[in-house]
């Protein structure tokens, strides 16, 4: 698995377009929110900015890149080549997705650290870490499922839009409007509970037990995403 991961990391840094869209662009967008945090915190809260950062990095740095990578490896039959070796499917997928996942985690952590220095740190770092991890896990699952519908890297530009835009929209909606109205709907939509977790972790003011309950719908979406992935993922191009 680590051999595959190393190969993916090498390719990531050799492909300038992927580097730009998956690494530089999410950091740039997040940096903008951090830079203008006073404006955005007036609109929502500091926790809202943290949520936007996590979902921007997650949606573009992780989800979109993962779908594009998997579609590309399938299209050029590299997935089939990997399945001709002794490594199992879990090891193959783990190796392919490990670099983008770690990079997204590092990006999100880095930006959140800078944000914490600039605007004041989160109230509960551990809860924040759990929320970020659950969000990234959910997006990995969605990436595997979406890759099943995606025929090529070019096609990924279209197939990734609904989830990528959707989760950022959800994060914005909840970050800006709070959770007093339509609480149940906001908690059940994909990314909704995770957004609320990030808000609570950064802003504080919510009981830990109330926050931990939010892990249930968040992990439920991880489970749903994993099941969709198991049904939809394809290892070879359609004939």
């Amino acid at each position: 698995m680590l051999g595959i991961a190393h190969g993916e990391l090498v390719q990531l840094f050799r492909n300038r377009l992927v580097l730009l869209t998956s690494f530089i662009m999410p950091i740039a967008v997040s940096a903008f929110f951090v830079y203008r945090h006073e404006v955005f915190s007036d609109l929502g809260s500091l926790g809202y900015i943290a949520a936007i950062v996590v979902f921007t990095v997650g949606a573009f740095g992780l989800y979109t890149t993962a779908v594009t990578t998997l579609a590309s490896r399938r299209q050029n039959l590299f997935l089939k080549r990997l399945r001709s070796t002794a490594i199992g499917d879990a090891g193959i997928l783990g190796g392919l997705l490990l670099p983008v996942t770690v990079l997204a985690a590092v990006q999100a952590t880095g930006v959140l650290i800078v944000f914490g220095v600039v605007a004041g740190g989160p109230q509960n770092v551990v809860l924040l870490a759990v929320a970020v991890a659950a969000t990234l896990a959910m997006l990995v699952g969605f990436a595997l499922a979406t890759a099943g519908l995606t025929n090529s890297p070019e096609h990924a530009q279209v197939t990734t839009l609904p989830v990528a835009i959707g989760v950022i929209t959800v994060a914005s909606w909840i970050g800006l409007t709070g959770t007093e109205d339509m609480e149940l709907v906001k908690r059940l939509v994909p990314g909704g509970a995770a957004t609320e977790l990030i808000l609570n972790a950064w802003n504080g003011g919510a009981a830990l037990s109330d926050s931990l309950i939010l892990l249930a719908p968040t992990l439920a979406w991880v489970f749903v995403a994993a099941n969709l992935a198991a049904k939809m993922f394809r290892w070879e191009p359609r004939r």
């Binding site: 190393h6 190969g7 090498v10 050029n76 039959l77 590299f78 089939k80 080549r81 399945r83 002794a86």
Partner: protein
């Protein structure tokens, strides 16, 4: 001919493979013995590659049993360390170099080898640091072969290995395979170049429309059909010359053909007749049935 062992490395019994409503392979049964060179040949769409993909573990059969080294071929951990696969179409990541590709794929086979040795074996030493995207089709095929033979597996499956290779590359590939065979490697081959199978295979399985048509050694397969003597005449024989005492068929191009199960005797008869009656023969050819003829007789 190499001595082969008795233990089947590949054991396929009454295998059926179905794609939707299309029955691609029907009740296929065959074995490949240890150390054997087995060629699986057939007409286009016969089911050769589908059969190989089941043996390789990429597809599950609809019914029947398939065993490789006594295990299900889908048990990668048990089978793949002992098996090298050169797929008909196989990809590499375009941004990785030749050496990187061999290193990564090689490490996943769980076999030990030296990357430089394997790259040199396929004549790509000068391109070890070249990205796959910059290789020609033939060079990519050689890279494919390199990853298949990495670590000297006990069994190699070659699906149309020389397609796209120039003559020299083909010769080098077969030299490498011949060396591996001397070490006892079992080889399974599919190819459209029949002479490759004819020159090397211990046994051949012929498939047509999803079923096994015939199986046997080259001699057994070609011995089923008569040999052929073909010739032309420089000029019409003079009047009064007796007919050639052989079953002669005139071809549309004006030449003549004799099917014979006694090539030497019938050739002697022909040459004697021509000599006795002053008949000049042109383009004389004589020989046993080739695999091409066995193929053409299918259907």
């Amino acid at each position: 001919m190499n001595t082969t062992g008795d233990t089947p490395v590949i054991d396929v019994e009454r295998m059926n493979l179905v794609y939707g409503e299309f029955h691609a392979v029907r009740n296929l049964t065959f074995q490949v013995r240890r150390g054997e060179f087995y060629a699986l040949l057939g007409t286009n769409g016969a089911g050769k590659t589908s059969t190989l993909e089941v043996v390789e573990g990429h597809r599950a059969p609809a019914s029947g049993t398939v065993r490789v080294f006594g295990h299900s071929p889908r048990d990668r951990a048990a089978v793949r360390p002992r098996m090298g696969i050169m797929l008909q179409e196989s990809g590499f990541s375009p941004d990785l170099t030749v050496a990187e590709s061999v290193r990564i794929i090689g490490s996943l086979t769980r076999r030990e080898d030296d990357v430089a040795r394997v790259v040199d074996l396929v004549g790509l030493s000068g391109k070890a640091r070249t990205r796959v995207s910059q290789l020609s089709g033939g060079e990519k095929r050689r890279l494919d072969f390199a990853t298949a033979v990495y670590g000297d597996p006990e069994l190699i499956v070659l699906d149309e290995p020389t397609t796209g290779l120039d003559i020299q590359s083909r010769d080098e590939l077969w030299k490498a395979v011949d060396r591996m065979r001397e070490g006892g490697t079992t080889v399974v081959l599919t190819t459209h170049y029949l002479e490759e199978a004819q020159q090397r295979a211990d046994r051949i399985g012929l498939m047509h429309q999803g079923v096994f048509h015939r199986e046997g050694t080259v001699a057994e397969l070609t011995g089923m059909l008569p040999g052929v003597i073909s010739f032309g005449l420089r000029a019409q024989p003079p009047a009064g010359v007796p007919a050639l005492p052989l079953p002669v068929q005139r071809q549309t191009d004006g030449t003549f053909r004799v099917e014979s199960r006694r090539i030497q005797k019938d050739l002697y008869t022909l040459l004697g007749w021509a000599e006795d009656h002053g008949v000049d023969l042109v383009g004389l050819e004589a020989g046993p049935t080739r695999l091409d003829d066995v193929f053409r007789a299918i259907d």
